[in-house]
Symmetry: D3
Subunit: 207 residues, 6 copies
């Protein structure tokens, strides 16, 4: 009996305030702020678990890659924690084309096959390496990089990020997958008009 | 010819200052600061690669687990990037006993077998789940947690952290693996003297 | 007359926008975000004052201590300011048992009596000291620590924290004050079953 | 046809979640948080453009200066970006009197005329310089500073800040433009009563 | 025997790297960085203790106040922790004149007597209150404020700050305690020449 | 006489510690840390002034643009302040080709002529606008963008950044101005081999 009373006393400052903020699972239905989503009121262990990496259906795309993201919009538990992940699957010959993440550095752990990855620094130096299963590569924030299958079998990797919302800008889509006018595109890249036209057709761009 | 001149002009503000800070690979021989180690002057692609996860020699310890860290002291490329990783191997019956990370949240990706993981929040709620290959669990910063092999075969996971230097405080070692006096320990935990004596013997504590 | 016109002109960009954010007193009725609570619309000086430390009723608990927190949930003015406080009262023989704060470093100022305080670092080193009135001890973020009355009279201290929401995980409550199964608890701590049973009884745990 | 399918696949994780947070244009109608305003749901290029600097009507005030701010309340696009700007116009003889910004360092670029600017550091050292068109001065966060027209013609400058909400505390208004009692004011500044009375009259203060 | 081997294994990643950064006690002999001082190589419990508050010799100054700071330069343990403290002693009639802290919010805990404290926000609103022993006042970062003894006996308070290096700009010293020319001072404050001359004499200013 | 004594007393905690950190002008000769350069020991007002914008010699390059940066390596005063600037000059027909800044958002203030600027968000939306003198555009961190002269006369702008070290990755130089192999380049961009060869010749690339 005394123990229960004791317990209530000891806990009093947390039980009267349910909202001690050990974590802030995103309430995706509310408006974001610069620090992330408002917190969901009530959570269970299932909020902290993400299971889509083992879905099995990693049907790859035109570039023969598949990305399964566990960013804040897919995995609300990472909201505010400065951390997220994604699964990369590369078919034979597959590649994630040149891209960058405005909001995070990336740490890639190869879990199957062999992957060649490269990034380019602000002074235009190329850093490139072929990695085997179990090796890690770090790709600093905001720099162009690419990853391709360097082997004769499927390859895959876990990608982790220093933000719950890294953002991804795929170069070909940013240039050729929208209505950026060919004139502006040619002027800002020096690409030939024929090249622009060809890639706009592939990536669905207009203008 | 004009192109080379052009190139030098265009690059001029970066070539005269070699130290554009896209990254800051740690110079482990220098003193740390609150933001991390000073930066290594010259880097190559090999600075960004970590290969110890696939060493094969994951001989486990008393608790039948093995941790291979890729924190800043093992993998200097993560210095200042707010991100690191570790490999967890669990033999059958293995467990990482109760511990916490003062400096990072953790994102665990199971890559082999089945792992039961649990954490306890500040209001003493228990969050616990058994995960299979491909599943992710998030463990918020600074809270006590544990992970054990829930299957009949070896299990392993990649652990990633929201800091290059997460810190790890293993409860049994913090309590029983040093010279914290038995009197202070008993007073601050209410453990029985016999229990303290027994565990100090196991974990090498004195006092 | 000209002065009033002048005044309005000079002030124009702040008077048209009432919400200049010198501070952000928490609106506790709104959902938290990772950066804290939304701001209360209208504030007075009383929002910035907290008076519960001098309530006089510091009836202590089982461990003969009393904590009066002035964290964001009790003192909304600290929202977003990265700072909070608490009052610690220790009866003769009193102790705050082993605990940690996931979200803040602590600076303790002894204001009455003598207090022995200790913390354990990630490499399991014990740092311990007995402090008198007027002395300060710093306890780094996320590490296990404890404080007990080292004198023959009441002791008290002001605790300040580097976060408006430090969180507190009391070891005995985290282990024995919830439904964490005895099997998991024993496995993850190596405590004896009898010890677990005894402490679960004291701290109200089940399972 | 295959291209469109490809495109949808490639884009799937962003199209299903419209709220990828490259930016967070402020929804000024919502409550602020410590990290800024919640984000506006839908934006266009016009949200990113601010045009009031070229309004022409820089009618100056009593001190013969005019400030046109582009802080978060005037230019919601800077919300969460840690950056804002203002235009300073100084008539002949004009001055921004002694003031400070609690939340930002300032970088002043002179674009017309000659401006003398000074700041005072915490150890009471005076840093002062007269700048011409094209010169930059940095004014560190939270320190008292002033800027005046040092030439025989109008002068102007662009002021940029390391926060979207720098805050401005103009010394004369803070002291003499409110109901701070003369007794308290005299005690806390050692100004003479007559001086206080005179300046309260100018700046509209009472008390 | 097996236990010692076990222990070494379990500890291996921390013992080989002594520099796990739970804290970073300042090495005051090294150059500061924007994040603070480099870390001292070897520390003991005494590094975490500060004892000057109980020195007894709080001989007050011209304004009848005494400040005993425990900022990073006096108390190196707070380096990088975002937290510091100071002791304020006020004789009867004593006052800390108008001042601001560029780098921290302040939380004042009155421990003796009665203290009137006030601060002025960016929109020139005055917030003022007389506090008794045990009451707390929060003073937001970078705003002008003052504290004076409101009683008939000595008063004192503990001041804590959200930075290890808050900085203090005392208005009278910033204006009148240096070589800021009277011409510039008068122009930027509208103070009368006689007033400036008088206060420069008191505070040791020239020019 | 009493005043001098007073002054010394009042100043005592700052004069004994010269290193109060109101600012941290970079010591460019020391190694950087993740938070920036160590601080220069002794500074004058000239450290806070940058004068290269008005050099007059804005000889533009191949793209008919000139950038004069005032980043930390050119203007050490911005070290640690989270703020920097650059001057952009565009000849008739000039353009800054497609580029991004990994470390900062950009705020562009047009000061002469007309400039068309565009950026592309992570969901591949194009944001584009032609700005006149006095207009501001915000370009969020890490996204591809470009700026060109939209008028018949020279144009110029002040660019300010939310970091002292924004970094710049110019797309054409990152792709064609180094030894990234044509095979890898073609694979990661889908550009035609002839296009790659042509642009490698222009930008000085090999491989």
């Amino acid at each position: 009996m005394i123990f229960i009373i004791f317990l209530l006393t000891l806990l009093s400052h947390s039980t009267t305030n349910a909202s001690v903020l050990d974590f802030c699972v995103a309430d995706l239905s509310s408006s974001q702020t610069p620090s992330g989503y408002p917190c969901k009121k009530s959570v269970t262990i299932n909020d902290f678990v993400y299971s889509n990496f083992n879905s099995g259906n990693t049907s790859t795309n035109f570039f023969k890659f598949s990305i399964t993201p566990a960013f804040v919009n897919q995995f609300p538990a990472v909201n505010g924690l400065g951390l997220s992940a994604a699964k990369l699957d590369l078919d034979v010959g597959g590649i994630i084309p040149m891209h960058s993440h405005r909001g995070a550095s990336e740490l890639m752990i190869v879990v199957q096959g062999r992957i060649t990855a490269g990034f380019i620094s602000s002074d235009n130096t190329v850093f490139i390496k072929t990695l085997s299963k179990g090796q890690i590569l770090v790709l600093p924030q905001g720099l162009l990089h690419f990853q391709y299958n360097a082997g004769r079998n499927k390859a895959s990797a876990y990608l982790t990020f220093s933000s719950e919302n890294p953002g991804s800008q795929v170069l070909d889509l940013a240039l050729f997958g929208n209505n950026l006018s060919s004139a502006n595109l040619i002027k800002s890249t020096l690409l030939d008009p024929a090249q622009v036209k060809k890639l706009k057709a592939i990536f669905g761009g207009s203008g």
